[in-house]
């Protein structure tokens, strides 16, 4: 197999494995204290699949670890024993899962997964023995029952039905157009597990040919490996496909080295009666029946397939499932996995398309023509084009949207582990996990959410005793909530713990020399903001979870990448709420282009409530110098954008300008601007990294004529 093929398989493998591990974790946490048979089956199935695909990819340590867990759950499934300590079972499973995860990370980072599974395996095995002992099912008793799927260090257990030997033979020669080929396939040296690879090949081959026999027959037995290595894997294939098709199919086998394929024309007339001791090439039809192939080969007619399948031993079906999963060829697929870079590229292209559309429809040449000709037809088609581009853009955006549920549900594990270790009792409530956000954003918020949850458990929630003393229910609650507001996603994490200690934070800030003004002048919000600074932790004791002062600054850093903001609200004794506000997508927004002092700016349309011509008589100024306006009985603060951006050229008299009401959550303010230009979709580009963050600007965009417009960050005008 070429490197590229392996790369592709590797991607599928890591993708699947991480998904399965996530699923597994979910099941285990859900089950926690009582495993029902569905859950046991599911865990067994997942472990089996992991084992199979890991063995395929030659990650023997992963396969071995998965195997021991599979053994354990096989026993649980078959014997349905009383489990003495359910939570211990959960611990063990989680521990081995961590091992698998670590190995997976190594693979993803391009390292060799070289962890030693012996330790986890030993623990699981010991636990299995324990359960057996508790159920009076000692080694003696265990020996009688059908042995659990025996794994062989490397290969998934597989049994091929050479059992169907007694079936009546189908007269293949009666079917027109059938040809028989003899094939010998050699594997590349050092590819390992030739028997498994051969099994896989046969498995698929059966679906496309009428009959196939092979040698060595017992592929389950590792003893067949040397034979395959020495003589190659020999097959006799009866099919209606032509030579090239068969040859190409065989050559495409993973790790195939050489393929010898020969059509046995004679076979058609004489019926493939025990062909040859060695099938290679020419002597095939002439040679006498050889001992190895002596039994009449069992044809695998498609019609007989279904019954046979049903009759097959369970284990086989499982092996089949493993192979199915490993090769991702589920019969009906409504989902496909796509490389993210392709989606990124698509996103970039649609961005270009949006700009180009504007360049075409606002072209200067066109404007010149407009004076002389009637462009009605052009305009109509241009509108249609814009509509299609818009739909396309929405569709592309939606392909990148993922729900937050994996991110949220992962926290179950964090909560569980920490509670166990810290002796706290916390209930995690999850609300709005179906909220969808852009994939890039999901990647950035996983860590922040985790750090905040950790912090909430470690610093926020008290121990059950403390809680009882404070008159609260001994069980703490952490609520993870996500919702959409306008163009933003709001993720809030609230706990009912002891809340933030303002004094403590202020003192710590004082000691670290972070204060810039007199301590008394700091508002609550400003004080809480300190906890997001690097190296800031008020926890006296460093625990394994938090206290080292890393963590909360990760929150701010990650959120900055996606242009999100964080804020904290806290009432001492009642708990705290961390709120993260993140723009839904980063790439394309609908904006209103406006002019201030001759320069163009873009305001996101979702923030705009409406615009109106202000009257001088409606304006008034409070003693602090804040300008306000009365609009339909409502009093709104006014921000003159020209002052905010230090642009002296703009309109000074309010009656020369336009008021634009913008909102942020429930708050509204008025912006004074010079002129409204047009509404259009714009592609958001970040300001060059070299420039410092300018308050009030979130980025820039290119307009149809190539001009740059700066995008106004409306949130900056609130909470000042």
């Amino acid at each position: 197999m070429s490197d590229i093929d392996r790369q592709a398989m590797m991607e599928v493998f890591t993708f699947e494995m991480s998904q399965m591990l996530e699923q597994l974790e979910q099941i285990v946490i859900e089950a926690e204290n009582s495993y029902n048979s569905d859950q046991i089956n599911e865990i067994f199935r997942i472990m089996h699949t992991i084992k199979g695909s890991a063995a395929m990819m030659m990650f023997n340590n992963i396969a071995a670890a998965a195997h021991t867990i599979e053994d354990l759950f096989y026993y649980l499934r078959e014997k349905n024993p009383n489990i003495p300590d359910n939570s211990k079972l959960t611990d063990h499973v989680l521990e081995s899962m961590d091992f698998l995860k670590d190995e997976l990370t190594k693979i993803q980072e391009g390292d060799n997964p070289d962890g030693d599974p012996a330790e986890v395996s030993a623990k699981i095995s010991a636990f299995l023995t324990e359960i057996k002992a508790a159920n009076n099912d000692g080694p003696a008793a265990a020996a009688e029952e059908p042995a659990p799927p025996k794994l062989l260090e490397k290969a998934p257990d597989m049994v091929l039905e050479n059992a169907a030997q007694n079936e009546p033979k189908l007269d293949l020669s009666s079917i027109d157009g059938l040809r028989t080929y003899s094939a010998t396939l050699t594997f590349q040296e050092g590819c390992e597990m030739e028997n498994v690879r051969a099994y896989t090949l046969i498995y698929y081959l059966k679906n496309m040919v009428h009959d196939v026999q092979y040698q060595p027959e017992d592929l389950i037995d590792e003893a067949s490996i040397p034979a395959i290595r020495a003589n190659g894997f020999k097959m006799e294939i009866t099919t209606d496909k032509d030579y090239d098709t068969v040859y190409n199919y065989l050559s495409s086998t993973v790790y195939a080295n050489e393929v010898f394929l020969e059509e046995i024309t004679a076979a058609k007339d004489t019926v493939p009666e025990a062909p040859a001791q060695a099938l290679p090439a020419a002597q095939a039809q002439a040679a006498p029946a050889a001992p190895v192939m002596a039994e009449a080969p069992a044809p695998y007619a498609p019609a007989a397939g279904a019954d046979e399948k049903a009759a097959r031993p369970d284990k086989e079906a499982e092996a089949e499932a493993a192979i199915h999963a490993a090769s991702r060829k589920a019969p009906v697929q409504s989902m496909i996995s796509v490389n993210v870079s392709k989606l990124d590229n698509l996103m970039k292209l649609i961005g270009e398309l949006v700009i180009t559309e504007a360049m075409v429809t606002q072209n200067a040449d066109l404007e010149r023509l407009r004076g002389q000709h009637d462009l009605e037809s052009f305009d109509k088609e241009a509108r249609r084009l814009r509509k299609i581009i818009q739909d396309m853009q929405e569709t592309i955006m939606s392909t990148r949207m993922l729900t937050l549920s994996p991110t949220f549900f992962r926290m179950n594990r964090v909560v569980r582990d920490m509670c166990k270790q810290l002796g706290k009792d916390v209930n995690l409530e999850i609300v709005g996990e179906d909220t969808e956000v852009d994939k890039n954003i999901i990647e950035q918020i996983g860590d922040p959410v985790m750090h905040i949850v950790r912090n909430a458990i470690d610093h926020g929630i008290e121990t059950p005793d403390e809680r009882r003393a404070a008159g609260k229910s001994p069980r703490g609650t952490i609520t993870l909530e996500a919702k959409n507001i306008g163009n933003d996603v709001i993720i809030s994490i609230s706990d009912d713990g002891k809340g933030l200690d303002k004094e403590k934070i202020l003192n710590k800030a004082l000691n670290n020399g972070l204060l810039r003004k007199a301590p008394a002048e700091y508002t609550e919000k400003e004080i809480f903001q300190f906890i997001f600074m690097a190296g800031f932790s008020t926890n006296e004791n460093v625990t394994s979870y938090s206290g080292r002062g890393v963590g909360m600054d990760v929150v701010t850093k990650n959120l900055e990448v996606v242009q999100g903001t964080t804020s904290v609200d806290s009432i001492q004794g009642e708990g705290s709420t961390f709120t993260m506000k993140i723009p839904l997508t980063l790439a394309i927004i609908k904006g209103m282009t406006i002019k201030i002092g001759g320069e163009k700016f873009t305001v996101p349309i979702d923030a705009i409530v409406n615009s109106f011509f202000p009257k001088r008589k409606d304006m008034f100024i409070d003693p602090n110098g804040n300008e306000m306006i009365t609009y339909y009985g409502e009093h709104l603060n006014v921000v003159r954008l020209c002052d905010f951006f230090d642009m002296p050229e703009a309109a000074r008299d309010v009656e020369d300008g336009i008021m634009m009401i913008i909102q942020n959550g429930d708050d509204r303010i008025c912006l004074l601007i010079d002129e409204l230009v047009a509404e259009q979709s714009v592609v958001v580009k970040n300001l060059p990294k070299y420039m410092k963050k300018v308050p009030g600007l979130s980025g820039c965009t290119l307009l149809g004529n190539g001009d740059i417009s700066l995008i106004i960050e409306t949130a900056a005008f609130f909470d000042r």
Partner: protein, 161 residues
Amino acid sequence: MSDHYDYDVALDDDELQQPGNQAALDLHLVFQIEDEFYAINVSEVADILPYGKIRKVPKTTDYVKGIWNIRGDIIPIICVRSKFMKPEKEIDFETCIIKVQYEEYSLGLIVDRVIGVETITAAQITPPPSAKLSYANQFIKAIGRPDTGVRMILSMERLIF
């Protein structure tokens, strides 16, 4: 951009890319600010463009003149004159923007006039005087003395940060 043109650089890109091409390493782009001549290594130069309208960005340092759109790339523009604390000069037909690439930053430098590409060999380069007398002196990495005259070789890092 139709109004964009390239100055002919003595060697084409392929030749420049060749490792160990000493002739390429010695090439410097020479430009003029007031009466002085400055040089930067061509490896740091991405493009030379005529001055165009720059979009001002509010609340930035005064030597950052704004941002500019070069074929879809938005780059910040720095005025070398104001960085050197020299009075600004009116834009004329000789004013150029040199697009430079330093580490992950891409930016444009406004200069009075581009002279061209000159070869300054290692033998012709001497370290700058140790005493930092003038403000602009801190931007200078070395002094080159090719046959054409004195060229102050700028340190890109110190120039843009």
